[in-house]
Symmetry: C2
Amino acid sequence: MRDIFRASVSLGIGLFFAISCARSDQYTIKEIGSFHVGGRQVTLSGLPEKEIIFTKGGPPTIVNPNGEFQVEQMYVQYIIPTDQKGKYPFLMWHGGGLTGVTWESKPDGNPGWMQYFLKKGHAVYVSDALERGRASWARYPEIFATEPFFRTKKEAWEMFRIGPQDSYNSEPAKRTVFPGARFPISAFDQFCKQFVPRWATNDEPTQAAYNSLIQKIGSCVIMVHSQGGNFGFHAALSAPEKVKAVIAIEPSGAPKPGPELEKLKNVPILIVWGDNLEKQDFWKRVLPNVKAFADDVRTRGGKVEWIDLPKIGINGNTHMMMMDTNSDQIAQVVQEWIARNDLMK
Amino acid sequence: MRDIFRASVSLGIGLFFAISCARSDQYTIKEIGSFHVGGRQVTLSGLPEKEIIFTKGGPPTIVNPNGEFQVEQMYVQYIIPTDQKGKYPFLMWHGGGLTGVTWESKPDGNPGWMQYFLKKGHAVYVSDALERGRASWARYPEIFATEPFFRTKKEAWEMFRIGPQDSYNSEPAKRTVFPGARFPISAFDQFCKQFVPRWATNDEPTQAAYNSLIQKIGSCVIMVHSQGGNFGFHAALSAPEKVKAVIAIEPSGAPKPGPELEKLKNVPILIVWGDNLEKQDFWKRVLPNVKAFADDVRTRGGKVEWIDLPKIGINGNTHMMMMDTNSDQIAQVVQEWIARNDLMK
């Protein structure tokens, strides 16, 4: 009896420390780091010199724009937990006009999905795709073919289905949201600080950099959002033996049906949609394309799970569901799919 | 006897878990997160619509560039260790044409100063200043006054004092370095992937965003590099009661001497310089300005420590000393100064 008591005490002390290691409000991290991958060197020549004034009132400095540059690389930051429970590195790819910040703290300051999946024991790799954020961008029209464009707050409000068409107003108090919309409305202007310019002509080098990333990392799970969807599906096609799953959050595009999709038959795919899709023209046009892709992959023996959140009782989610107030609830749906698909240790 | 044995076992189990918590090759992190701070809303109007082709061969989409935008914010990522040993948040501000990546993993893949100071128990706040990286940038000439410019690899090679003037060559094998230069030469092209475009006309809003950051964080220590130097010293002038120290790594500028510098008399300042400064015209012009600043602050009762690394026996360091092969050795010099200045708990 006393022995059992003593054994219990021993175990208790051990557990105390084990639990303080794993307290839910902290992470034990093996490694934090970052790198750039992909890209190429270009040489510019024959461009005229420019006078640039670096300091107000100071003398102009002659700047010669000609020379050699590294361009078209992408940026990746990784955080690897000590107790890695996911079988594979977990790559998080943002959408158009956005960066890896999508997955970090939410605009209302609460923890986002990077933190969520890290706490679940995934080694997270959050990237900034070519042309934006820490990936940098290159001179146009000499290297990037066209000029960039900038998303207005109104476009984001509508395109991301926070409120209906023409419900955006300069004054926050006068903006109308979809009934029950889950976006943290008071943080909308803060969210707009995350926007970055985008180009319409960089798909090929962007895909090439993503494919390089897969080659560098090896076996992995990819979570993609919006414009990242198409890149993610094509990355899986480029290395179906390495991409162990694709989790697509409202992908804005997908590969066309056809024999090539046979390659995806062993890559489990999850596609998740929020609410109010049928109320927004852009998404009404996108849905049939992604549906055709999903159906075709299924026909070829692939496994595609398609979740309309409202159909499982989760209502009001926007295109930016990783920032919505119930984002953890959706992350849990994703995490359960990951576990069901044998992607946890 | 048996009791003592059992107690030892209990303690042993406890210690095992305690030690596995604090292994030196891992971090125990309380919180990882990010935010944007500063900036303003602007409205563009009267600009012509543009046709943009989003998908090769697809129909053009009309894009209206007019509307409301968030601009001139900056980005900050923070990592807070559980066992915080630094008294204050440790802000890390990069130089010109660069981002917070400066402080992360080095281009040769080894851990950088973000990881170093995190392991020393500092809560690190690594930012991307206005106009670059995850801070984003704004349309020009409508919002940013001028066009940006791009650093060539040759300029970086010379300006960052990896090799002498005109020693850069397109072919890596033909590049000449300063004797004993500590930059990881084979990672130079990889380093160039970190470069971002820069503007000569954004100093005021950049300073404003940095000052907002100080107001948001409160008491803090700032580590600045190169172009970040001038911003750091001015941030200290804007809130000398909050900025508990400025650690300037090769600052490329400093406030002019004058009565205003009286405000810095209670802000300890460390200024660190690498090697071969006298062999590069730009740095020869910079040094007297920073020297005049340091002398003036001292005259007014301030405490400025000026370290020429070669004078303390550390030779061959470049402008990018946080990436040099002996970067930990220099970080240690900085960490010791931090400890001497009563900035550790």
